[in-house]
């Protein structure tokens, strides 16, 4: 048994938690989410480079919440998500254990200050590769960008898999479901697809923690992460702010500074 499995077993055996949400082997060489509720099952947990999913998404599901106190295997983006959820009043302090596997064993974090300290110690910036991809995009020119996204969005099925995979899309009623007025047309046509994706990106601005699950969930392979990463950069450049760093409400779009940039305003 490795340290993570041992930790999970102990937490379940001592009834410290009722469920450990982690990763297990899936099909096609991919990991899948594993809900471990019995101590004996803990040995099925894995943690390697195939374990990409942001498991925080399950915390927002009512049926998972009903299972009782949970421990959650957390990657860096997951930890940011937990703090962001806390800042949005969706997560109570000490209501779960975040398990962070590392070289020296498994960290088990439950207070917001412990989560904040862990997040502060990890690298939260976009990677060099991510930044250079965005830069390439910016250099493409307006028309090329429009053509690129039109082609991408023309394949959107409005299946909302991106939304379902996103731990911050926990709203019980999404704007797309409002019909008085109908903000976004229901059928999957070019206009509605554009509006849906603009809306989703705007609603994640200053909130998205860059886990990448929306893109991984998209059945037609639209690189949605680009939209989120673009806005993460813009929020950081303009407001010097980063989501998921603190459990305190500090949303960059519902706060302001009197001297925010306004060179585009006449």
């Amino acid at each position: 048994m490795n340290a993570l499995q041992e930790k999970a077993r102990e937490l379940l055996a001592t009834k410290t938690v009722r469920v450990v949400i982690g990763y297990g082997p899936g099909s096609g060489g991919q990991a899948r989410a594993l809900f471990v509720r019995e101590a004996a099952q803990a040995r099925e947990l894995i943690f390697d480079e195939t374990c990409l999913q942001n498991l925080a998404v399950y915390l927002m599901k009512p049926d998972v919440r009903q299972l009782g106190k949970a421990a959650l295997v957390a990657r860096p983006a997951t930890l940011r998500t937990l703090l962001q959820l806390a800042a949005e009043n969706q997560l109570e302090e000490n209501s779960l254990l975040a398990l962070v596997p590392g070289a020296d064993g498994v960290l088990s974090l439950s207070t917001f200050s412990a989560l904040e300290a862990q997040v502060a110690s990890q690298d939260n910036e976009l990677s060099v590769a991510e930044k250079s991809e965005l830069e390439k995009f910016a250099a493409m020119g307006l028309d090329a960008r429009r053509e690129f996204w039109q082609e991408q969005f023309s394949r959107c099925l409005k299946c909302y898999a991106c939304r379902a995979a996103c731990p911050l899309c926990y709203c019980t009623r999404c704007t797309v479901e409002c019909n008085q007025p109908q903000w976004i047309p229901v059928p999957a046509h070019d206009l509605g697809n554009l509006e849906w994706n603009v809306m989703r990106a705007m609603h994640l601005a200053g909130r998205c923690t860059n886990c990448g699950d929306c893109s991984r969930a998209c059945p037609v392979g639209i690189p949605l992460y680009l939209l989120n990463q673009k806005l993460i950069l813009d929020v950081s450049a303009n407001f010097n702010s980063r989501s998921g760093m603190t459990a305190k409400a500090d949303h960059s779009l519902s706060t302001f500074k009197p001297d925010d940039p306004e060179d585009f305003i006449k």
Binding site: F137, A138, L142, D143, A144, R145, R146, E147, F148, W149, Q150, T175, W183, H189, D190, L191, L194, E195, V198, M199, A201, M202, A205, G206, L226, L227, K230, L231, D234, V235, N238, F239, S252, L253, S254, T255, F256, K257, P258, D260, P261, E262, F264, I265, K266
Partner: protein, 144 residues
């Protein structure tokens, strides 16, 4: 397209720009009739979805205008709006949508002349840009 008359929607706050546009009227200054105003209590109220709806409905250009910083009737609605527009513009541009079709501005209740100038300059720019066919085609509006 010399005869092209652009359709421009102006989203303005009640306290500064709407009043400023009233002053343009009381001062009998002239501006282009292609711009129509929709009144909001505050720029903070202006949902970015409305800008999308305006383009989807055939607007060739949009003006969004409210109180100058520190002058907001509600103290900070315009500051929140400003942050929203910074992000929104960045996103539109990233998606290849020409943000020069959206003009943001601060026009106070005393700036009737500025309103007229803003409207005229914006209409002129949109006229030069031509109809927003790129967007209107998305819905098959049959323009262009």
């Amino acid at each position: 397209m010399p005869d092209f008359q652009p359709k421009i929607v102006a989203f303005v706050c009640n306290w500064c720009t709407y009043a400023g546009a009233d002053l343009t009227g009381t001062s009998r200054m002239k501006y282009s009739p292609q711009v129509s105003i929709i009144r909001f209590p505050c720029t903070g109220r202006i949902d970015f979805m409305l800008l999308l709806k305006a383009f989807a409905s055939g607007a060739d250009g949009i003006i969004v205008s409210g109180c100058h910083p520190n002058d907001c009737h509600y103290s900070s609605g315009n500051f929140h709006a400003r942050r929203r527009w910074i992000i929104f513009r960045g996103l539109l541009d990233f998606l290849g949508i020409d943000v020069s079709r959206v003009q943001f501005s601060w026009v106070s209740a005393a700036e009737g002349a500025k309103w007229a100038q803003l409207v005229n300059e914006t209409s002129e720019r949109i006229r030069e840009l031509g109809p927003f066919t790129g967007y209107q085609r998305l819905r098959g509006l049959g323009v262009g």
